[in-house]
């Protein structure tokens, strides 16, 4: 499986003036980039900077509008993923494309040429995964695997093609710190074999830790090419964002008030075979507090949000309390009327309907809580467009939502701007309880810091805020208290100042140490 060494100074892959236009919008604008054999090359940039578009062109998913791609000294046209694979380019996408009901080996077989027997694939995959320190049982069903293990399948699948260049898109966004460390070891092994890695990330520490060179993108253009180890995180951030990012200030968070949101031994069985069931979750959020729930994706965060928001009410009334009133069986609008606000993880098709205008998306969340202001005509329930539009405008101004036109469809906004609107939609009501799932997932740095500051400010003004997040940086920026969710169980709640990343990492892996005491301590 080893690749023969290339002359160290001639690039493995060089990209010249690569441009991709969508209509008149240049997602990539004259990109120059070269990757040497045996290096780990970072591609840095905010969301929407053009990183994904660039790698999709390298992997043959998108066709470039103009520019050239030179592979080992020869100009090539990569017009399909199979061409890319034949050249020796492998790719691990950020969102996995795996069938949960199939086994690891079956999933791998799907991307191979037909005619290779399943047992041979299983053997090769198993050998390869152990050789690179990525242990994997080829006969396990994907549904039973953790996200980290699923990523290994994708990596092994790419490695089976014996690539010279492996592209990894945001690989650590779904991993615990310990899992990420293991991934880095694997990457160093690949590098030692003379393979190159294109590593896409917006996490600066990681890039500084493992990457030899970095190319920074902003608005589709290269804004910097550097050795990340010689830069500081703030100088890299400046290249990415174009200006200094506002620092979130959690200073002066007020003292604990009354309990505004409480879960008492909340359990809920999984609704689908691939969902996670919630097991005996106890939590309390006081006024003035930001409780952050950390955890690796797919450990029950979505299910916890569904239960707390009332999108899927639970069987008993008294396991969830908002402002001391039992609401477990009540629907989402009943909870909104008690002063709660909700921001789900998925923007499109959950928090907002992409095809509908911003004002319609305001009605979506507030048709009942703002019934008096937004509806008229008694039983007819006429929507008062003027009042709704005014409120939407007020929210857009308060949160600095940048949009084209007065009232554009939600789908036309960038992720960050839509998320600012969705968060602003709830803040505008001054909720006494706010429950947010992944508040800044896929959001650019500027918008993220704005949203985080807004959450902190809301808590300061005396509301209880619950933030479910996978992003540890975010958690340390906003949280006053931290708990960790793993396989549907919640750890004890710790003051934020008492926890380190390592401790959280251990908790994420489900190592509570004192699970027994956790349950008794929270019994009421």
């Amino acid at each position: 499986m080893s690749a023969e060494g290339e002359p160290a100074n001639s690039p493995l892959l060089a990209v010249g003036q690569l441009t991709k236009l969508f209509g008149t919008f240049a997602a990539c604008d004259g990109i120059n980039l070269d990757i040497r054999p045996g290096e780990i090359h970072a591609l840095l940039g905010e969301n929407g900077a053009g990183k994904s578009t660039l790698v999709k062109m390298l992997f043959g998913v998108l066709a470039p509008t103009s520019g050239e791609i030179i592979w080992q000294g020869q100009a090539v046209r990569i017009n399909s993923p199979s061409t890319a694979r034949k050249l020796g380019i492998g790719m691990v996408f950020q969102h996995f494309s795996l069938f949960e009901a199939l086994t690891v080996a079956e999933n791998i077989a799907l991307s191979m040429n037909p005619g290779v027997s399943l047992s041979r694939i299983a053997k090769e995959a198993s050998d390869l995964s152990h050789a690179y320190g990525l242990p994997l049982d080829p006969n396990a069903h994907v549904a039973d695997l953790s996200v980290g293990e699923r990523q290994r399948i994708e990596i092994v699948r790419a490695l089976l093609q014996n690539p010279k260049l492996i592209i990894l898109d945001e690989p650590t966004s779904v991993l615990t710190p310990q899992e990420a460390d293991r991934l880095f070891e694997t990457l160093n092994k690949l590098k030692a074999e003379g393979r190159s890695v294109l590593y896409i990330s917006h996490r600066l520490e990681e890039v500084q830790r493992i990457c030899d060179r970095a190319t920074v993108l902003r608005h589709g253009k290269v804004t910097g090419a550097c050795d990340p180890r010689k830069e500081t995180p703030s100088s890299l951030a400046r290249m990415m964002v174009g200006s200094d990012v506002a620092h979130v200030s959690a200073e002066g968070t007020s003292a604990k008030g009354a309990v505004k949101l409480e879960a008492r031994h909340l359990s809920a069985s999984a609704r689908t075979p691939f969902a996670v069931s919630l097991k005996n979750i106890c939590l309390k959020v006081h006024a003035g507090e930001v409780l952050a729930i950390a955890g690796v994706a797919g450990n029950g965060q979505g299910e916890l949000f569904d239960a707390l928001s009332g999108e899927y009410p639970v069987a008993n009334d008294d396991v969830i309390l908002i402002a001391d009133k039992p609401v477990g069986t009540r629907g989402i609008n009943a909870r909104r009327l008690m002063g709660a606000g909700f921001v789900p993880e998925e923007r499109h098709g959950h928090a907002a309907v992409s095809a509908l205008s911003l004002s319609d998306n305001l009605v979506l969340a507030r048709s009942q809580s703002d019934r008096r202001a937004f509806l008229g005509g008694g039983v007819l329930g006429l929507i008062r467009q003027d009042a709704v539009k005014m409120a939407a405008k007020r929210i857009s101004e308060a949160m600095d939502v940048r949009k084209s036109g007065e009232n554009p469809p939600a789908g036309s906004l960038s992720g960050g701007n839509l998320q600012k609107f969705i968060v602003g939609r709830e803040l505008d009501r001054q909720p006494t309880v706010l429950i947010v799932n992944q508040p800044t997932w896929g959001v650019d740095a500027g918008a993220a810091s704005r949203i985080r500051q807004a959450l902190v400010d809301l808590a300061k003004s005396g509301s209880a805020v619950l933030v479910i997040s996978q992003d540890l940086d975010e958690i340390f920026e906003v949280a006053t208290e931290i708990a960790v969710i793993s396989e549907g169980r919640l750890s004890d709640i710790y003051p934020a100042s008492d926890l380190s990343r390592e401790k959280i990492g251990l908790l994420m892996g489900g190592m509570y140490g004192k699970t027994g005491t956790a349950e008794t301590a929270h019994a009421h």
């Binding site: 199979s82 061409t83 790719m91 994708e154 928090a351 048709s367």
Partner: protein
């Protein structure tokens, strides 16, 4: 080789508006080719198909008679389709509405009162709604596919009607013809204007279109329908119940189809026969889409499709060909409407490489 539909980055406003007209134009072209292949002069065939019926008062009345059930049914279906409930069984709901509404003039024919007609209309709506309640129940509680259940129930309704008019409800003085007794004058839907046959069914259709248009455009209910149709999850976030929406949309469209059924029987046929519909319930699906699922667009589309029925009859007489060209025409029209709409949102991309090597490899 693989053919892919790729979403266009932006949708042309101009072509969105032109699309139904382009579809209509393509239908005319291919319809003309079809007549040519049948050995007829395409221009005169298209003239007697599409223009001639519009030149006389009596045929305009016929147009209104045929458009009424199409519009009534399609308006109800538009609510279903917008909320992502695929009621394909309006034909059956139309028949069951006609049967339920005919209980009074057929079974209780001796009762003559001004109340009969309004009661018939109400019974018709209930009959259609109850028949639509079957697929609604199956979908809401057993998660069955409403396309299949509603479609299969059409045949149940057709055979039930057949059985009734040959058996229990056959006219005792009708010389064994499979028909019910003709309705009493108090059970017949009156004409709208004195100049011809068109009955109040057309009025109901226009009224229904306006009411549903108002609901969709201005009320929270209309908003709920749109949201649930776009994304069930977002609807749940808004506190809307997709299960209740199944009931609402199916019962509403069933009631409107039932009303269309009893209005047709009471106004145009004036008795029950083994066959009371030339496929209105299915043609209304085309009407609903041709009208862009917009009730006002549906009024126009209903008139266009009604014209294909009339024109079809006209060419049967003038060109001596069978009634199949009408079906072909309607099929062509639906095909072109859907493909024009698709090509506005997507463009076709040919992928010239080997299929076997590209499965499940992150190409999302």
């Amino acid at each position: 080789m693989r053919i892919e539909l790729e979403r266009r980055p932006d949708v042309s406003k101009l072509f969105s508006i032109l699309s139904p007209f382009i579809a209509l134009g393509l239908t005319l072209v291919f319809g003309g080719i079809m007549f040519m292949l049948l050995g007829k002069d395409p221009l005169s065939a298209l003239y007697s198909f599409f223009i001639e019926p519009l030149t006389e008062v009596w045929s305009l009345h016929e147009l209104a008679i045929k458009a009424a059930p199409l519009i009534l049914i399609a308006v109800g279906l538009s609510v279903c389709y917008r909320s992502n409930n695929w009621n394909i069984g309006a034909e059956g709901q139309f028949i069951m509405g006609a049967i339920a509404g005919s209980i009074l003039p057929v079974v209780f024919y001796e009762w003559q009162s001004p109340l009969v007609l309004p009661l018939m209309m109400l019974l018709g709506m209930m009959g259609g709604a109850l028949f639509a309640a079957i697929p609604a129940f199956l979908k809401a509680h057993l998660n069955t596919n409403e396309i299949l259940t509603s479609l299969m129930l059409v045949y149940v309704a057709q055979l039930f009607l057949d059985w009734l008019v040959r058996g229990a409800w056959r006219n005792p003085g009708g010389m064994n013809f499979p028909e019910t007794r003709t309705f009493d004058a108090t059970a017949i839907l009156p004409e709208m204007i004195a100049s011809g046959r068109a009955h109040w069914g057309f009025g109901f259709a226009i009224l229904a279109a306006i009411l549903i248009w108002f609901m969709m455009r201005y009320t929270l209910k209309g908003f709920e329908i749109t949201v649930l149709g776009q994304s069930e999850r977002a609807g749940r976030f808004a506190g809307f119940s997709s299960r209740k929406m199944i009931w609402f949309s199916m019962l509403l469209s069933g009631a409107l189809a039932g009303l269309a059924g009893i209005a047709e029987v009471s106004g145009a046929i004036q008795q029950l026969r083994p066959v009371i519909s030339p496929g209105y319930g299915f043609t209304a699906i085309i009407v609903a889409f041709l009208g862009r699922l917009n009730p006002l667009g549906i009024v126009v589309a209903g008139l266009v499709l009604a014209l294909t029925y009339l024109g079809g009859e006209a060419v049967q007489v003038s060109l001596q060909i069978s009634d199949k060209p009408i079906r072909v025409f309607q099929g062509l029209l639906l095909f072109f409407v859907l493909s024009c709409d698709t090509l506005i949102h997507y463009k076709i991309r040919m992928m010239w490489f080997d299929l076997t090597d590209t499965t499940a490899d992150g190409v999302r």
